[in-house]
Symmetry: D2
Subunit: 440 residues, 4 copies
């Protein structure tokens, strides 16, 4: 990414002049300060090849996240709000809980509103009540899946949202959501600027597909892999049990194959993994159908993982539709493949036993695993630190093992994709032996 033109400058509402309430605890016993400075930055790229005599001073870097010595908002007067948007994802309740505990106990912010059902919760006509959040209210919620605040899909009028923020006097808004939400956040931030309001907007990126740009890891993704392995095990057992058994699993991944690829490495029973980043050949010598036939001839069973966004090339443009969030409505590649495979083998008069598994909502709606819980806690704490310091229009990202600040406009509207020549996908190819499939 060295030559990419990415804005890495973080906006602030104004100078942070208030000593952080953390000050008394800010110096550890060994005399070191625990506060971050804005000058602390994390290199975007960690490849420092000896080949080239590059000018390392030009290294792109992100501002490091963490508590600041001075903050912008006066905690005793600040009102905060939290909203979760879009599809469910393991860890939403961990995020909500940690935001509340950090604001309440560490910074002393006592008024925290939970906005119900995503962006709908800002709009009067839906009639969703606000929830007052405090430590008792969020106690134990991390052990349950879903979001205690609820969610909704689709956009809402930006003006009405900012009206609501003004009306209830919110100074700091945390928005948890995917790409659509981040674009809404940006629009909200712009409108706030237009109105010359002092409201900070901090985004926490959420995507079960793990495909947000400039975010190396999304919360909930690891939990999703955990559960996806159950489906793969099941498909494998079904495939092995029956003569010419085929197990076909559809996993999430609208624009990227991270979940399909990672799950395939975690439970290495799959023989074919199909992802949006690689166009699928279906027919012909090098196509999937012939490859499955060869596999059955050789080993009597086959396991196929398909990401939901794979193979969209099979569908006609005229079929294009969009959902309430404005996302492209994908054609169901799982059911499509199920039909194609059945038809193919029927035409060849080869009896098969095909089992189709679509675990979707079972994955989305369960609690975060231990790893994601830790991650969510740290993301949320850093979101609070950033917001209290008056930073705005940014999102909290994990990059090169560090938590960093990304300007919203640097990320929103783009997708992270798997690099077909990268280690992850190459490892899948080695693990499955499916390499020839794509060499048309």
């Amino acid at each position: 990414m060295k030559n990419m033109n990415i804005n890495t400058t973080i906006s602030v509402l104004g100078p942070a002049r208030i000593p952080s309430p953390l000050t008394s605890q800010g110096v550890t016993r060994d005399g070191k300060t625990r506060f971050m400075k804005d000058e602390y930055r994390i290199s975007v790229d960690v490849r420092v090849d000896r080949v080239a005599g590059e000018n390392k001073d030009s290294l792109l870097s992100f501002e490091q996240a963490g508590p600041r010595e001075n903050i912008y908002f006066d905690p005793s007067k600040l009102k905060c709000a939290v909203v979760t948007c879009g599809g469910l994802c393991p860890g939403l309740n961990d995020i909500i809980r940690s935001l509340v505990l950090e604001l309440y106990h560490v910074y002393g912010v006592k008024t925290i509103y939970g906005i119900r059902h995503g962006l709908q919760g800002f709009i009067p006509k839906y009639g969703h009540d606000l929830i007052e959040l405090n430590p008792e209210r969020v106690s134990g919620i991390q052990n349950t899946g879903g979001s205690m605040l609820g969610s909704s899909r689709g956009g809402q009028d930006i003006g009405e949202i900012v009206d609501c923020l003004e009306r209830i006097g919110v100074g700091l808004l945390f928005m948890v959501g995917g790409d659509g939400t981040l674009m809404a956040s940006k629009a909200i931030g712009d409108e706030i600027l237009n109105r010359r309001l002092k409201i900070s907007v901090v985004g926490i990126p959420k995507t079960i597909d793990n495909d947000i740009f400039l975010v190396s890891r999304s919360f909930g993704f690891d939990s999703a892999v955990d559960v996806a392995t159950l489906a793969i095990k099941g498909a494998h057992n079904e495939a092995e049990a029956y003569p010419n058994g085929i197990g076909l699993i559809k996993l999430m991944g609208r624009h990227s194959g991270f979940l399909a690829a990672t799950a395939a490495l975690a439970q290495p029973d799959a023989n074919f993994v199909l992802i949006p980043e690689e166009e699928i050949l279906l027919h012909g010598e090098n196509g999937l159908l012939a490859a499955v036939e060869r596999r059955l001839a050789l080993r009597k069973h086959a396991v196929i993982i398909v990401a939901e966004g794979a193979g969209q090339n099979f569908f006609e443009d005229k079929d294009i539709e969009h959902d309430a969030s404005g996302n492209l409505k994908l054609k169901d590649i799982g059911l499509f493949l199920k039909t194609e495979i059945s038809t193919y083998f029927k035409s060849k008069n080869i009896p098969i036993s095909l089992k189709y598994i679509d675990p979707s909502y079972i994955i989305r709606s369960l609690p975060a695993n231990a790893n994601d819980s830790v991650f969510c806690g740290l993301l949320a704490r850093d979101a609070v630190h950033a917001g209290m310091a008056g930073k705005t229009n940014l999102l909290i990202s994990f990059w090169n093992n560090n938590y960093v600040h990304i300007p919203m406009d640097a990320s929103a509207g783009q997708r992270k994709k798997m690099d077909p020549s990268g280690r992850l996908w190459q490892s899948v190819l080695e693990s499955t032996g499916q390499n020839l499939l794509f060499n048309g």
Copy 2:
């Protein structure tokens, strides 16, 4: 069942004259024998009402399972075979493992054939090899789901099956399967009788629906409930998160609602449970659709569990098809309800968020839980005891907390169903509060 005309007499190949190899261990330290006698019987009904002066001597009872003092087969010369048929079910590998260990270590039978892919494995044209089973081969298989022998659906020619048994010299055949398999077992037993062969056939009933007649508990059912609760939790979290959220879960249960009802009690988040035993009203004041609408008006979300065999009254007779096993192909009530609910609320202009979960193969293909593992081990041991004693054409059942012998013709071809006025279903009605739904 007191007045039912059930045959409870167990067939034997001939007198058992060989002292059991267990004899030396047959008397425990406290001087008691551990052998069962054929006269030991388990009452079919445990209700002994004081009201009536019934003649208790007429109590219907089943022969108790367990090791016999004398056995029929000479272990050093006996060849056994094991076959697993039909759909996968947690515990198949536990059964195979325990059959092999009991035959090999306790009785000293050294030749045990594993028949591959269900009844197909008997038929030459399929070309499936036999597997030689021994303790090393089955070591650890219980930790994996599926069946190490594989399975297949559909019947095969009975004559050819018995030809195969004769050809490889099997004296004792263990058949693990559902109702169709039990009927095949019976036909095999009859053919064996016709040919005057000395081959014992012992059935171990398998059904994830828990609906085999005269069998109070089927292996794998408890594991199925375990996993089904995950799907219910997920559906509930999805339903709660969205305005007018509806979670719809389809669970197994072609003719009975045991799994749907038990899972609904295990994870008490469902508001409606639909089972084959109770006809569903869809439309009208007392119909499901209006009830869901009332529920949404009141509580903003609803969770519905539907057994796959429920609501078959909605489908036309002309649609009837059968699968390879001769089972009636059920119309997909899950997808049907998904469409009906969407259409209903669309017509009323009420936006809903409907999530459909069908965990089927994830449930079927996982390993048995601890409880089912114990159960499978005991079932398999008793199957060996029965077979070694020369008993035939029977199945091993669990009844009133005891393992018993059931003549195959007493069970095959009938279904166990939930009693709508029994405790299980009544508890579901109390737990969901859905009582009015069925009072048309």
Copy 3:
């Protein structure tokens, strides 16, 4: 048990004259009533041997549990109380939740007190507050282990307890606890009788050891087996990995080996299972130490499960102590064996690698699994039905697949033990091959 002299008559406070609020739902669509009659009884013994011409009329039987057509208490005026006592056990929160929902929604009882921290909660000097229980308060608690009411060990003054019941006006008390609690319940019941109060006391037996007399299954036991299998797997992996590896697991079971035996069948990796019902030989040719040595010589590793109450014969009488509940304080057989085994092999100059695992509180404190959740729900509902009908001094038991009423004085003070010549223990002996160990 045919000749045992067991009292099976249930006490009542007085005639039940109030039609049950369930009446309108009491007749199911098929015209059958769902109400139980007191004359419905469940046979204690299901063995009906054809050998003897026994008089079946003398069959011992228990009153069947379930809703009665008439009840004793007026729900609108009744106050109930719930208390959980003794050690934690998976399912306590399921029990509390189901008691509250059944009382509140089905019978219409609106005042339900939760007594905090076991019997201490009745005694003013401890200062524990009452909790008002209602459906909202118990929502979701079943997903958490422990007891939302807390618990405590040890007895309290019976007079003070009954004083408290009088003071707060409780008419129906549910006591969840083990043998000590049941004896306290009995004493409370007697004192209530002495004072001519109309207070019903219903016990729900709780024991992770599954050893309550006349109770075939205790809630939480199946969940305990689930978790115990993890410890056995771990011990087995440790034992196999190291030269002469020994895995030693201590499981609960003060007076009985049900948990040790059942877990050994569920995860069949153990070579030795030691239980209180069978005295252990340690030294000599037939002793455990020599047997472990032989096992190591043959297979290089060994796994041993010991119930905490096993081998108490090794400890001197003078060491006897009692805990706060008056239970005999057992000497720690796990640590004792760990030392003895180490010493033995050191003396023989045989290097071993011994790993000791004691999962105790991990088992006790986790939530109930699906199977136990269903079971707890049904136990609690039947406890409510019994109490509302004015029955008292009884406990709800599961017997021969039916829920029944057992008079408290028939069960309290006795222990259920494993029958050494029964199927469970014999299966363990077969599974481990440890038979010779006990033939001194």
Copy 4:
């Protein structure tokens, strides 16, 4: 680490002149090569502060791991060996499996020896057989905990080990183990150099404590956190249930508190976390005992996590012992605290209910979770790539989200520790609120 003097140069046996068998798959469809060059390097430090005008050319960096275009060994003639040493850790079988599959399928190495029981397996006098490893042999082993090769603790004669390697003709040795093993690897590498042998030694670092120097993440650690959360949940439920309940959990961590700290964030129920990096005050106003007393007074229960290496300052020097691996034998801080806490409250006449949980081997011996499985697969593949390229005396590390080569002598003999002013520990302090405890 910018100014640290770390050797980052990787040794090679000689020039790699053989085209990799991966060549035909080396160019991906998009024309990019998937091969790594030795000049590709990963920055050791990703902090690139704008404050200082540092010379970025001096950035310390590690050689990036991955497949090389040319390799050193001829796969058709190469014999490899794998050994696992020291304590068990989730993922050992994943590592073994992936090493074998990569060597066998990708590079075409057909002779792979499994060395049994750690370093003992090289030494004739122990009599452990070699295992021939191939894809069939390692199929499915990743679903089981432990190590299929076994392990042992303690060192062995370096000369004898290299004798063995010569005798069986091994050219490439993979050593999986902790700090002691890495030091042995280094000694083996030196001896190989002395003897002018062409044997490559590649280390894969293993530590459940996650404390290997220059290794940001160890395999098995995430799985350990998963299981540790169960123990914390259990301890919390026990603590809450009883008046003045205290749950005390001991977790692994001889020299570092990573596991204790991470688990405390994953299941945020702990009030005190004690780690080796922070000296504990026990007595006095600011000591743990008084802090627990204050906590009980305020909240009636407390949960304490202690890393096994914490509080070693309490033990006298004269008590120092070492185990077979030469590791310092730690005094048992868990039992020590159990006694100290009991004594303290007894002396104050405050009744408490203290439950002690030590999950150790349950954690160590279970299979890797999904996340660790993926990680192990990638580590093992990179170990194969490094070894095939003739690189030696290195270990495969994960650093800044990249897999890198670390010279063995740069890591062995040092420990990674938690930074007390770093984000992880500071987050634990915030989460528990225990900050004052250490401010003596």
